[in-house]
Symmetry: C2
Subunit: 342 residues, 2 copies
Amino acid sequence: MTAFVGVSDTVRWIGRRGAETIMAEMADTIEDDFRRWRSFDKTHRMASHTPFGVIELMPISDAELYAFKYVNGHPFNPARGFQTVTAFGVLADVHNGYPVFLAEMTLLTALRTAATSAMVARHLARSDSQVMAMIGAGSQAEFQALAFRAVMGITRLRVFDVDRMATAKFVRNLAARGFDITVCDTASEAAAGADIVTTCTADKAIAQVLKDADVVPGMHINTIGGDCPGKTELDPLILERGPVFVEYAPQTRIEGEIQNVPADFPVTEFWEVLAGLAPGRTAVEQITVFDSVGFAIEDFSALRHLRSDVAGTDLAHDIDLIAAPDDPKDLFGFAVSPVPVS
Amino acid sequence: MTAFVGVSDTVRWIGRRGAETIMAEMADTIEDDFRRWRSFDKTHRMASHTPFGVIELMPISDAELYAFKYVNGHPFNPARGFQTVTAFGVLADVHNGYPVFLAEMTLLTALRTAATSAMVARHLARSDSQVMAMIGAGSQAEFQALAFRAVMGITRLRVFDVDRMATAKFVRNLAARGFDITVCDTASEAAAGADIVTTCTADKAIAQVLKDADVVPGMHINTIGGDCPGKTELDPLILERGPVFVEYAPQTRIEGEIQNVPADFPVTEFWEVLAGLAPGRTAVEQITVFDSVGFAIEDFSALRHLRSDVAGTDLAHDIDLIAAPDDPKDLFGFAVSPVPVS
């Protein structure tokens, strides 16, 4: 049998464990997997593009588990009453190829994206960081805020979104949760005085939601929304001001902020910092940039974390995805009822 | 909601509709899709190889539906009590990217493979064919026999397998189903007098289960078991004796019988025959070869056929794989319970 965790199960999981606890623990799982980066068989994602959007399969494996995520991106969906992104994922045992775990990943991806951001900031942002600017108050925003509080202790937020309804939703969702939130009229105003700037905007454009002039020494910039060709958020001048960290350089050069700079622009893969192979932040005044596009290892980590956390609970359900006849050569006898002897 | 069809549902479907009826109808669905070959966005499969075996993702789409199949191949599995191959598949709507259908495909692949073989033979074998030799009596054998009866009216079988237990299982499974079965001691004996020869053996080797001397004018050869690098079934001399038809040439050159001949060996993609762009069989004495490796369009066809056939019945079940908040920007409010106002 294959274990299944659906959307309602994930909602109940978050309700029971708490989003912050989940993301703090998941950040550790992701960090553990980043530390053993070389043990993964990494590959490009497989994308099917149409005028409506894109559907992608993202596989990855280590010696024990194979994972893949199905994810779509359809920018016109919200105007038509659909979600822009939906996702689900599967874990399989490498030794026999059996799919053992199937889960929704629309919510899980939101959790793992924020957990990754916070985990990376734990190593790259100044340890005395107190204030985070949030440019973009859409689907990912509250998850980022909670993850940064859980992992970094950030409680002071300065938020700006071009859509005031989104800002109002953000404030409403977080108001009773103990944050000190300042609503700002511009991105520059939000960034003013922030130790960390998170950009998570949705427009599919080569945008500059954060200007070079908004960036001051000591900042850590966590840029989430630039995550596919033709969709970026930073003034490219910012990338020149301090070291740029990425997940997996071959993918980020196509999808991240660094698509706007030459192909030989120097970047550090963040796992190298964890492995002690490259420096992270080396000075208080340094500006650090995490150019995040989302990588398959994060999905792998999130799936195995979820699987482990819900094992044996009523949040996982068996579904019969695996045909297992007693005699492996007798698939027919398994599938087809015998003819009654008359 | 996403519709789910599990293994037990597929078994009940076969029990209700009958394997022959299903494969005859599925053959028509596959033929319809082969006729509109150019309307598909075809791509290579994505394989993850380990010493244990391989796990593959096979995506394909037309303008309306996107499909992918997950399938593993683990040759040492049977000795360890596991199935060599398990599979499942997904259909998604191209216009919004939502996964709408999830089904087991271990059984469905057996049905579609046999339906494809019979559909192709309907066009390439002599129309007066009466006798089929079956070399290999493993998992796929009975499905092939039933599909060829349903589509071509074949009732006389000559069967050989190196494993006499497999042959006994084959006879037992088909005995009460009205076939005239001759058990043979060698592959050559099985082929003698046959109009159609189906090879479906399991050894991962460059084998010659069918020799050049076994092949006589007028035969149609349906070779199923040569389906990955290093796994073939035919004496390559046979390929020189008549036209060779394949599903998708770039894939078959890597995986099929034609991996044993030069890369410029001429083949015909079978859809071209259906489209009137290439000849099929042109003479009664001709020897025709269908070098089948299995192609993603067949899975696409099988999934849409199953989905259509079980729609509205108790064979399909809703699973909640899609998170759909009322406000697309408020994923957090959908996922996380509000803090109680004290």
